[in-house]
């Protein structure tokens, strides 16, 4: 089961605070590795707050926690904080795409992607 979304990134002061202290903490990971989905998309995927999802774009995939957005209804539109996790999904351009990052979200049993894995992927792909 999966749903297509367009992901728009945003700034979060709590995540910023945590990142300024250190990007290698569980606190920073938990504030980055999450996706805010519309209530309708959450129920379509049978998700409850905190359950893990696989977010797959043409560039790559990350496992993050899903959370119901408290914004007005926005089915098909998802939000992630601007972070190393959302950057793994972004395309070739330096700018985030204005229309958001096209991705597919599906429930997952895997654990949340760790920052060390993100770095390993960048370096492995970089060497190639």
């Amino acid at each position: 089961m999966e749903t297509a979304v367009s992901i728009v990134t945003f700034r979060d002061i709590f995540q910023d605070e945590a990142g300024k202290k250190s990007k290698f903490t569980d606190e920073f990971r938990d504030l980055c590795a999450r996706i805010l989905l519309d209530k309708q998309d959450m129920s379509r995927l049978g998700l409850k707050d905190g359950q893990k999802v696989r977010v797959q774009s043409e560039m790559g995939a990350v496992i993050v926690a899903a959370k119901t957005s408290d914004d007005d209804p926005h089915p098909g539109l998802a939000f992630m904080t601007s972070s190393p996790w959302s950057n793994q999904l972004a395309g070739e351009d330096e700018c985030m795409p204005g229309t958001g990052i096209a991705a597919k979200v599906s429930p997952s049993d895997e654990s949340v992607t760790q920052i060390s894995e993100l770095l390993q992927r960048m370096r492995a792909q970089g060497i190639l």
Binding site: R11, K20, K21, S22, D72, L77, E92, E94, M96, G126
Partner: protein, 389 residues
Amino acid sequence: MAICTGCSLLCEDIELTVKDGAISHVRNLCRKGHGHYQGLLTQRARPMIDGEEVALDQAIAKAAEVLHGSKAPLLCGWSNTTLEAQAAGMSIAKKLGASICDTSPPCLGTLMERIISGSAPTCTLDDVRNFADVSVFWGSDPSNSHPRHLSRFSYYPRGEKRQKSYEEERTCIAVDVRKSATATLCSNYYFRVQPGGDGEFIESILATLDGKIPKFGEKKRMIELGTILRKAEYGVIFPGPGMLYSLQNKLELFETLLAKLNEIATFKVVPMVERFNSRGYYQLLHGPGNSLAAAAKGCDAALVIGSDPLAELPLATARALARVPLIVIDPHRSLTVDAASVVIPSAISGMEAGGTALRTDGVKISFEPIIESDLPSDEQILARILEAI
């Protein structure tokens, strides 16, 4: 009083007590600034060459050696460092024939070039506090990105001509894809745009200002917005990444809007750059800057300073950087530090090192070190590299 280099507002009213060489009490920091100051205590970088800890002098010498031996060096970052360090970096770029780039998106560079060259009308944040009656946060969310923006400048303070301030005299408008914390504060004056829909939104405002029926958006609300903008005595637009990503290379639409608004009222634009001295970099550069994506793909070694590009950039550019030897000058451990061939730890600008920087509105702010450090400043490290290459 100390200053905070946690964001581009460079708040100058930080009260602190230093006891036995360490900060014991701090007042007036926002949450983000608090995290920045906490950074004094957490995960400082150590001098390294290929994963082995070395003496600082060895790391600096190795950095010079790698840069000197490079056929296509890239010097990137620069947003979180002082004007003095940026100037030293530009001298190194000139001497080596290296590319120099910051890590901001190119669309920001274009806007900054327009503002700095004077083709887009601008003002200082002190003017905003004293005169602004209409503030438009467009694709920006200062409550999260520049936490004291609203309290120091754009909404709450009582300025020279705005003694009744937010209660009666100031109107805040948010234009955003999501209902951010700032958009929530703006309440009825929050206008939702669809991702990539900022161009259409501008066309709708232009139509209402011309007395025409807008093609996009809720007509009644767009006409209401047009009326507020038309009646503004001193309006200021704060464009953030949301607007810039959406408009990309159609910035002229925004310029058309600014020109139209200034036929009717006074409207300025003040950028919302995030890092503490992004503005300084563009001011020294005298241009919109180069594409980091292209430069990263074409380089064979890179010096990174005042930035963590592997954490901050889209994967393709981060990956291009990760394939070459990286020399990183940074006070802290970061993703880029972990991937670097050479790590040179530096003093934290604004806390352990002095210097000058330009606030997001272009006002120059000078600062002195507030605590002692054995580590050299970014400027001192770059001066030594310049001497050695």
